[in-house]
Symmetry: C2
Subunit: 382 residues, 2 copies
């Protein structure tokens, strides 16, 4: 709870919401007649509308990417390490937009929203979403904000997949795509972890086949397990060792059934926190979106052909400690981009941190990222 | 269901049980007055009683290591790839013993057994177990079988930890220790996976704080999740890719909520099968035993000092695709053994398979293992 906000913070921010009354047709064929996207913006859109950056969020995140909602907020937005005055994404130069993905649970229309047809929450009746759908909905937001072309679309993890999809679906609407800690598609192991998380949620007796809203409960046990498991995949073995080792939790017996290691206590805390904040149906929906992402699929598994329409310049970054989407997965993207003669910068950051590294204050990472963004700003004359 | 058994099989085997009426004191101080160990043997004990091999099993396994219980049994014992006529552990030369660990759920006394004091299942009242306790109970079995000294104590994973503990606790009672795909102790990440599995079981409403026996239910959802998660850690990303890739399950829709990848179906099958076979309290108990194992702890984290009493000759084997207990963990053991001037052979098997590799028919592995065992047989004149 800062008494004054850090000088390089974007400061106090107010979430906004854009409601669209044009029907949105999903790739699945489903249609919703109207929908809302929650979003935030930081910095100022210039007169030429050429300095806008779209930030795409990862699985369990939202539109609050930087700054504080109030002086009482304990922690700033999730990418405050990268967005702010003089930071890698410098809000003195760029107009930054981050929206909560459709299907989310932080203000955008999603499974917990009321389905106007039934007067009840969509629940499991919310349309299946693929990354293309998100990108299309974000393009409508860009239209409304008067942004014809993004200076960059940027994201980590599932956010990086959205940036990639933007470059394929709207090649003329972005100058740069920045794809961090992502993969061209999930491996069987990635899918397997998601499936265990989904099974935990769906087998929770409080899930009620997705209609827990009507029962005034939440599948808390399932969400907690999903998040505990998620955290293991976000950290590396090395970073867990550095943070927790085999240290026992304070007050733990030193042996036996009730012995508790610090890492166990950490996971339980993270799990319980998440269970109180996140909608289970959104988690199911978004993990399925993640599993399904595979732009090469309709091109005989040829990622190069999938990216053939892309025109953006690319920055691709990976982290050596990331075993979820390892550097090898980023290199697959880089290879496909190079085969299309696209302009690519690839940085493989040597760091013990795991997948979560993209959120962290890691000097080498922020330096590469910042230098690239400065070049971008110079291109714009921003 | 073989109509005739394979010629290199140990054939039809009958599980045995040894009941001990001397009280067993656990490291925790708890005592049980009598207990049973289920076990099997293969091959013949020679006149000098010098050709006996103890096989120690891993987390969720049992004493049925080789052969068939009946002509109707679909699959042989869990280590049939390694135990048999002319196999790495050649039953023409060795007398092989494998017991179900105390606390288990396949015939040895465990949480599901009746506590003679209460007349009810022990449940969570079963004493906490550490690897030292298992080794002590196995030494009592050796006494009863007339085996003063094992030609070798052999195990993979948690079984390898028991072999290591044998070499520390009864240095004169084994000639060789064979430690496969093991680690000197669990990492924070290893513990974290176990904790998610335990949380899944304990948060299942059918767990009833361990007294599900009295409610005629089993915490099936929790066990299923624990096993699904376990399987992810037993396989490697590469081996999952090779086995499942991103192939959809037959009959799966190609998109959306109900889309199902083969890997998901596989995990669910494994999970459900396990939930019907394994006792939840045993799973909790044994994962805690695994987490707690750390022979170096009482020697200021110095594994070399912990192994200073060992006299056995060692074969240590690891698999490059094993990310649960990676080759680096085996090298820690090897270093400590070498610093004690012990006789060590170390083999790092280059293979994409994960932790489960130690159970598989992998030519390079079986060749190294078999050659070592032949040397051992020659030593014995067996």
């Amino acid at each position: 709870m800062p008494e004054t906000l850090p000088p390089d913070s974007v400061g106090l921010v107010t979430p906004q919401a854009m409601t669209f009354s044009d029907p949105l047709e999903f790739e699945s064929g489903a249609v919703i007649d109207d929908y809302t996207l929650a979003f935030e913006t930081y910095g100022e859109l210039n007169a030429a509308h050429s300095n806008a950056i779209l930030i795409c969020h990862a699985l369990s995140s939202h539109h609050h990417a930087a700054g504080y909602h109030s002086m009482d907020e304990r922690k700033p937005g999730w990418w405050d390490n990268c967005i702010g005055l003089g930071k890698a994404i410098d809000t003195r130069r760029f107009f930054v937009v981050c929206s909560n993905n459709l299907g989310g649970c932080h203000g955008s229309t999603g499974p917990a929203s009321t389905n106007p047809v039934t007067g009840k929450p969509y629940g499991r009746g919310f349309p299946d979403i693929v990354v293309k759908d998100w990108v299309r909905s974000q393009s409508h937001l860009a239209d409304k904000l008067g942004i014809d072309r993004w200076a960059a679309v940027i994201g980590g993890s599932l956010g990086g997949m959205q940036a990639m999809q933007w470059s394929i679906d709207y090649p003329e609407r972005l100058a740069h795509a920045i794809v961090i800690a992502a993969a061209p598609r999930l491996s069987a192991q990635n899918i397997a972890f998601n499936e265990v998380a989904r099974t935990a949620i769906k087998s929770d007796p409080d899930f009620h086949d997705g209609d827990y809203y009507g029962h005034n409960v939440i599948p808390e046990r399932g969400l907690r397990l999903a998040r505990m498991l998620g955290h293991i995949t976000y950290l590396s073995d090395d970073s867990m060792h550095a943070r927790f080792g085999r240290e026992l939790q304070e007050g733990s017996p030193t042996r036996g059934y009730d012995m508790e290691f610090q890492v166990e206590s950490y996971l339980r805390y993270q799990g319980s926190k998440f269970a109180g904040e996140f909608d289970a149906n959104t988690y199911l929906l978004m993990t399925k979106t993640l599993d399904h992402f595979d732009p090469a699929k309709e091109y005989d598994d040829d990622l190069t052909r999938a990216l053939a329409r892309a025109q953006a310049k690319f920055l691709v970054m990976s982290f050596t400690g990331d075993w979820r989407f390892s550097p090898e997965r980023s290199r697959e993207i880089v290879r496909a981009l190079l085969e299309n003669n696209l302009d690519v910068v690839y940085a493989r950051i040597e760091v013990d941190e795991g997948h979560d590294a993209f959120l962290m204050k890691i000097p080498q990472y922020l330096q590469v990222f910042g230098a690239y963004m400065q070049r971008l700003a110079r291109e714009l004359g921003a």
